[in-house]
C-alpha cells in the first residue's frame, strides 16, 4: 500500500510546520494549566491527555497518509454514514458536559465525533464533485452537495454545538468554489442566507447564544457577565506587548481571568506570554501551513485530490481565522477551537488526520 518511493514525496516542510504548531499547543496548555497550590505546584491534568492525543493523532496521520485517498474516497459514503450514525448516537447516548451533549466515552477517552465531521464531509463532497463532470456549476448538484453538508451540520448544531457545526460550512464552500461554483451564485446564497440568518437569530438561537452576539457588539453592557470574556480576551492579548510576559508568566491565563484559556483561548495565552513576536510566529506558521496545503491542492493529480485538500483546508483556515480573531476579542465568543493548538484530543486527532490526507494527495500526485 505504501510504496517506498512515495516516501520521497512526503511534504516534510508541511508536516514539520504542523507538528511544530501541535507542540506549541502542548507547551501553551502546559503553561496555562500549571497548578500553583500550597500543597505543591504541579503540572495540570490536561497536559498528558493532549500528549497522548498528539501520539494518537500522529498514528491517524500515518493511516490517512498511507491509504490512498482515492481508496478512501471510494468508501467516503460509508465513512459519511458512519459519521451520521455516531452523531445520532451522541444525541441520544452522548455524555453531557457544560450543557452540551458532544462526547462518547471510550475507556478513558471521550470521543467527539463532530470534530471528524469536516474530514467526512470533505471526502464525500470531493468525491461527489470530483466524479461529476459538470463540477459545481449546476444548481442541482449544488443542492445535493449542500444537503450532504447540512445533515451533519444540523445534527451537530442540535447537541448544541453551533461553533463546530458552523465549521462544516467553509468545507462545503471551499469544495464548491474549487469545483467551479460561480461567484454570482455564491453571492446569491449569501444574500439568501441573510434573512435566514435573521430568522434564525430570532427563533432558532438559544438565549445564551443571542446574548453572546449582543455582548460582543457591546461588551461593556455586561462586563461581569457575557461581555466578560471579550473584555478579558482583549486585556490578555494587549497586556502581552511586544515580547510577552514569558512562559508560565502570563497573569491573565494563570489567574484564570480568561475562562477555559487552554481551550478556546489558547491563542490569547500565547499572545500574552509570547507577545507580538510569538503571535507573528504562530500566524506565520499557520499561514505557511494553509498556503502550502493550497499548493498541494494545486499540484493534485486529480480533481478529487484537489477538492479534498481544498475542503479540508477551507475548514481549517476558517477555524484558525475565526479563533484567532476571537482570541483578540474581535469576534463573538463561539466554541470554535484553534486547530492543532487548542486543548482537546478529538480536535487534535482530526486535524492531524486531515493533514494526513493533505500530505496523501500531494505525495500521490505522480501515481496512478
Amino acid at each position: 500500500m505504501f510504496e517506498r518511493r512515495l516516501y520521497f514525496h512526503v511534504d516534510w516542510l508541511l508536516l514539520g510546520a504542523v507538528l511544530l504548531l501541535a507542540v506549541f499547543g502542548v507547551a501553551m496548555i502546559y503553561s496555562t494549566t500549571y497548578v500553583i497550590a500550597p500543597t505543591g505546584d504541579h503540572m495540570g491534568k490536561e497536559v498528558m491527555p493532549q500528549v497522548y492525543a498528539l501520539v494518537i493523532g500522529l498514528v491517524a496521520l500515518l493511516v490517512f497518509l498511507a491509504i490512498d485517498y482515492r481508496l478512501l474516497a471510494e468508501y467516503s459514503l460509508l465513512i459519511f454514514g458512519l459519521l451520521l450514525l455516531l452523531l445520532v448516537f451522541v444525541l441520544f447516548k452522548g455524555q453531557t458536559q457544560m450543557g452540551a451533549q458532544r462526547w462518547i466515552p471510550i475507556g478513558p477517552f471521550h470521543l467527539q465525533p463532530s470534530e471528524f465531521g469536516r474530514i467526512a464531509v470533505a471526502l464525500v463532497l470531493a468525491m461527489y464533485f470530483g466524479e461529476n463532470r459538470r463540477g459545481a456549476k449546476n444548481p442541482g448538484d449544488l443542492i445535493i452537495g449542500g444537503v450532504l453538508c447540512l445533515v451533519p451540520l444540523l445534527l451537530i448544531a442540535k447537541q448544541p454545538d453551533l461553533g463546530t457545526a458552523v465549521t462544516l460550512l467553509p468545507v462545503f464552500v471551499g469544495v464548491a468554489f474549487l469545483a467551479g461554483l460561480r461567484l454570482r451564485l455564491l453571492g446569491i446564497i449569501a444574500i439568501a442566507c441573510l434573512p435566514l440568518g435573521l430568522f434564525g437569530y430570532k427563533f432558532a438561537l438559544k438565549d445564551y447564544q443571542r446574548q453572546r452576539i449582543q455582548t460582543f457588539l457591546d461588551p461593556e453592557q455586561d462586563p461581569r457577565g457575557a461581555g466578560y470574556q471579550t473584555i478579558q480576551a482583549r486585556i490578555t492579548v494587549g497586556s502581552g506587548g511586544l515580547t510577552g510576559k514569558g512562559f508560565r508568566k502570563g497573569t491573565q491565563g494563570q489567574l484564570k481571568y480568561l475562562p477555559v484559556a487552554h481551550n478556546d483561548f489558547i491563542f490569547s495565552v500565547l499572545a500574552e506570554e509570547q507577545g507580538f513576536v510569538g503571535v507573528l510566529g504562530a500566524l506565520g506558521l499557520y499561514l505557511f501551513v494553509i498556503l502550502r496545503s493550497l499548493e498541494a491542492a494545486r499540484l493534485a493529480k486529480d480533481r478529487l485530490g484537489s477538492y479534498l485538500v481544498g475542503g479540508i483546508i477551507s475548514g481549517f483556515a476558517f477555524q484558525v481565522i475565526y479563533n484567532v480573531t476571537m482570541s483578540a476579542g474581535l469576534a463573538p465568543v463561539k466554541g470554535i477551537t484553534l486547530p492543532l493548538m487548542s486543548y482537546g484530543g478529538s480536535s487534535l486527532i482530526a486535524s492531524l488526520a486531515g493533514f494526513g490526507l493533505v500530505l496523501n494527495v500531494r505525495m500521490r500526485r505522480f501515481t496512478n
Binding site: 463532470r133 499561514l287 484537489s306 483578540a328
Partner: protein
C-alpha cells in the same frame, strides 16, 4: 473512477486557488495588524487593565491604643472579632447573596442592602462589612452555606473591648464608623470610609492619638478573588496607648456607690492640686461594647428613646440647681468683698422677709437656727443666713466669686460636648431677657436656687478651688502617652483662673465644711474615722412647690423628688481629693454623702495601704427615703440642706 485534471480544469482551479491564497494571506495580514494595535499601540492601556485585574490593595485596620488607669491597669483594650463582609466583585448577584446571608445568619436583609448601598461607590474589590462582631453561630451558618454565598468573606479585625462594661462609659465614650459629616472635616483627612473612630468621650477627644494608622497589603488575586500571593505589606501602626488620670479602684468605688444607692446621677473626683480626674461617672450608663463592633439600630434607638437618657453625660451636660452647695460661693463673696467677717451673725427664726416676701429656712419647723455665725451657718446650712448675705452682696458680686470658683462656666475638661451652667448676673439678664435684675431675685440665689444651674463637673472644680486656695484647675484625663518606647508624661493644662484668697477667710469656710461632716452638720454620713473629710450637702428642688402641687393635682407622673448633692474635699488641711456626688432625685444631700463616703473610704484605705472596703450593699448605705414634702407639706421657697 477518479478523474484526472484536464488542462482547462487546471487553469480554472489554479486561478481559484490563487484567489483563496491571496484572500487568506490578506486576512492574516489584517489579523497581524489587529494584534499590532492591541499589543504594541495600546499595550500600555491593556497592561494597566491586566494589573488592575489582579492586584488588590486591602486595608489592614490598626488596633486602637489601649487606655490604662493611673496605675497602669488596663481599662480599655482590643480583641479580635469576626466580621462578615462582602466582596462585590466576587459575586454576580449581590442581592441574592444578601438574601441568603440574611436567611442564614438572621440579619436584617433590608439593613444589609442599605449598608452595601451606602458604600456602592467604593471599588468593588474592597470588602464591605455586613455583620460586625458576628457570633460564632452566624459564622458557622455563613460557612455552612458558603457555596451559595460567593463573595462573602470572614475577616478577623481588632475591635474595642471595654472589660468593665458600663463602668465609666461616658468617660471612655464609644467608637463607631466614621460619619459622612466627619469625613468632610479637615481633621479627618486621610480617614477612609468605614474606618472605626471615636465618637464620644476619651475615644473621641483623643481619637487622633488612639487611632494609629491602618496598614495595607497588596495581593495578587485570581479571577474568583482568591488571594494567590502577597506582594507588599505595610503593617498597621497601633494607636498610641494612653494613660489616664483615672484611678480604677476609685472609679470602681464610685460606680459601686451608685449601684448600691440605686440612684442615677453623676460624680466627678479630682486631684485639687492639678485637676487630674480620679473618677468620673454618669448614671444611667450604657455598655460601650455594644458600639465597639457597630451598634445594632434597635439598640441605638432604644438608647435614644430611653426617658432616662443613658447617652447623656450628666457630669458634663446635666445642669441642675446646686442648692445649698452654692452657699460657700456666697460666703466667699461676702468675706472677700468685705461685706461680712467670719464672726458676722444673723438671727434665724425659721424664716425672714425680704422685699415684702417671706423666705423660709429649711429648719423652720424646729423654730430656726437662732443667732448663728458663718461657720455654723455652713455647718447647719442655715438658709436665712445666706438669704441675708446674698441680699447684702447683690447678684453681680455673687456672680463674680462663683465664676472665680468655677461655677457657671465651662471647666474645659478634655471631653467633648461640655455644657455651661448658669450663675445669673444683672448683665446676663439684660442681655438675654432685656430686663433689669430685681434685688428680690438675689435672695433665692443665695441658697443656690432660682436661676442658678451648674454641671456636676463644675461643682468638682468649685470644690477643688476651695481646696487649693483659689486656683481654678482644669480637669483633665490624660496623664501620659506612650510613644512606643516609653511613657511621656503630659503636663497638666494651665488653670482656668487664679485668685488670691485671704487664708483666714478661706479657713472660716473650710472650718464650716469640716463641721458639716464631723460636728453636728448635715453631712455626718460622709465622716471617716481618722481622716478629716470636709463637705457640704445640698438638696435642690426640681420643681417649685406650686408646680409640685399642680403636678400632683393633675396626676402627672414623673420623678419630682429633690436632687441630692454632696460636694467634698479631704483632708481638711492640704486636701488631695475633691469632688462631687450628685444623685438625681436622691431626695437628700445626705444620701449623696453616703455614696461619697464609700469613695472617700476607698481613697483613704488605698492611701493607708489598707484593704479596700468591699462594695456596699443597698442596706449598708441606710438611705433616707423620707420625702419632706410628703410629711409636712411645702417648707417655703428655699429648702435644701
Amino acid at each position: 473512477m477518479s478523474t484526472n485534471l484536464i488542462p482547462d480544469d487546471r487553469r480554472s482551479l489554479t486561478v481559484r486557488l490563487s484567489v483563496v491564497q491571496y484572500l487568506v494571506a490578506a486576512i492574516f495580514v489584517v489579523l497581524a495588524v489587529g494584534f499590532w494595535i492591541f499589543q504594541i499601540a495600546q499595550h500600555e492601556k491593556f497592561r494597566e487593565m491586566a494589573e488592575n485585574n489582579q492586584l488588590r490593595r486591602l486595608p489592614l485596620p490598626a488596633p486602637r491604643g489601649v487606655l490604662l488607669d493611673r496605675n497602669g491597669k488596663v481599662l480599655v483594650e482590643n480583641q479580635d472579632t469576626l466580621n462578615i463582609a462582602i466582596v462585590r466583585e466576587q459575586t454576580k448577584s449581590v442581592g441574592d447573596v444578601l438574601h441568603v446571608l440574611a436567611a442564614a445568619t438572621g440579619a436584617d436583609e433590608a439593613q444589609l442592602r442599605d449598608t452595601v448601598n451606602r458604600r456602592r461607590r467604593e471599588p468593588s474589590y474592597r470588602p464591605i462589612v455586613l455583620i460586625e462582631n458576628a457570633t460564632q453561630e452566624q459564622y458557622i451558618a455563613a460557612w455552612a452555606r458558603r457555596l451559595e454565598l460567593p463573595g462573602i468573606i470572614v475577616e478577623e479585625v481588632p475591635a474595642r473591648r471595654y472589660p468593665a462594661q458600663e463602668m465609666a462609659a461616658h468617660l471612655f465614650g464609644y467608637v463607631g464608623e466614621v460619619t459622612i459629616a466627619q469625613l468632610q472635616r479637615p481633621d479627618y483627612d486621610g480617614v477612609e470610609p468605614g474606618t472605626i473612630v471615636g465618637q464620644a468621650g476619651v475615644e473621641l477627644a483623643y481619637n487622633k492619638m488612639l487611632m494609629g494608622s491602618d496598614g495595607a497589603k497588596t495581593v495578587v488575586v485570581n479571577s474568583v478573588g482568591r488571594e494567590i500571593k502577597q506582594l507588599d505589606m505595610q503593617l498597621p501602626t497601633t494607636g498610641r496607648p494612653l494613660q489616664l488620670t483615672i484611678d480604677e479602684d476609685l472609679q470602681k468605688a464610685t460606680e459601686d456607690g451608685f449601684t448600691a444607692a440605686g440612684f442615677n446621677g453623676a460624680a466627678v473626683v479630682l486631684d485639687p492640686s492639678n485637676g487630674e480626674v480620679l473618677a468620673f461617672t454618669s448614671r444611667p450608663a450604657y455598655d460601650p461594647n455594644a458600639f465597639a463592633a457597630g451598634i445594632k439600630p434597635a439598640a441605638w434607638n432604644a438608647l435614644n428613646a430611653d426617658a432616662l437618657k443613658p447617652l447623656q453625660n450628666r457630669a458634663l451636660q446635666g445642669r441642675y440647681s446646686p442648692g445649698s452647695t452654692f452657699k460657700m460661693a456666697v460666703a466667699l463673696a461676702g468675706l472677700e468683698e468685705g461685706i461680712i467677717t467670719p464672726d458676722f451673725k444673723v438671727h434665724c427664726a425659721g424664716s425672714a422677709t425680704f422685699y415684702g416676701r417671706p423666705f423660709a429656712c429649711w429648719a423652720k419647723k424646729k423654730g430656726g437656727h437662732g443667732t448663728i455665725d458663718l461657720r455654723h451657718a455652713i455647718e447647719q446650712s442655715c438658709d436665712v443666713y445666706f438669704y441675708t448675705v446674698a441680699n447684702m452682696l447683690g447678684i453681680d458680686k455673687i456672680n463674680k466669686w462663683a465664676t472665680l470658683l468655677g461655677l457657671g462656666v465651662k471647666s474645659n475638661i478634655d471631653l467633648p460636648n461640655e455644657l455651661t451652667g448658669l450663675v445669673p448676673s444683672s448683665k446676663w439678664k439684660l442681655e438675654t431677657k432685656h430686663e433689669k435684675w430685681y434685688a428680690g431675685e438675689t435672695i433665692s440665689v443665695g441658697i443656690g436656687q432660682g436661676q442658678v444651674s451648674v454641671t456636676p463637673v463644675s461643682m468638682a472644680v468649685y470644690m477643688a478651688t476651695l481646696a487649693n486656695g483659689g486656683t481654678r484647675v482644669t480637669p483633665h484625663l490624660l496623664k501620659a502617652v506612650s510613644d512606643g518606647v516609653g511613657w511621656k508624661p503630659i503636663d497638666p493644662p494651665a488653670p482656668q483662673s487664679r485668685v488670691t484668697i485671704d487664708p483666714d477667710k478661706l479657713q472660716a469656710i473650710r472650718d464650716g465644711l469640716w463641721m458639716v461632716v464631723n460636728a453636728a452638720g448635715t453631712g455626718g454620713t460622709a465622716r471617716i474615722q481618722g481622716h478629716d473629710v470636709s463637705g457640704k450637702t445640698g438638696s435642690a428642688q426640681v420643681i417649685s412647690n406650686q408646680g409640685r402641687v399642680a403636678a400632683q393635682r393633675a396626676g402627672k407622673g414623673g420623678d419630682l423628688r429633690d436632687n441630692g448633692w454632696f460636694v467634698f474635699f479631704a483632708p481638711r488641711d492640704n486636701p488631695t481629693i475633691a469632688g462631687v456626688v450628685f444623685l438625681e432625685h436622691g431626695i437628700h444631700g445626705g444620701n449623696a454623702a453616703r455614696v461619697a463616703h464609700h469613695i472617700l473610704a476607698t481613697y483613704f484605705a488605698k492611701l493607708d495601704a489598707k484593704p479596700l472596703p468591699p462594695p456596699p450593699t443597698h442596706e449598708d448605705l441606710h438611705l433616707d427615703y423620707s420625702d419632706p414634702y410628703a410629711k409636712g407639706g411645702p417648707v417655703g421657697s428655699g429648702g435644701g440642706h
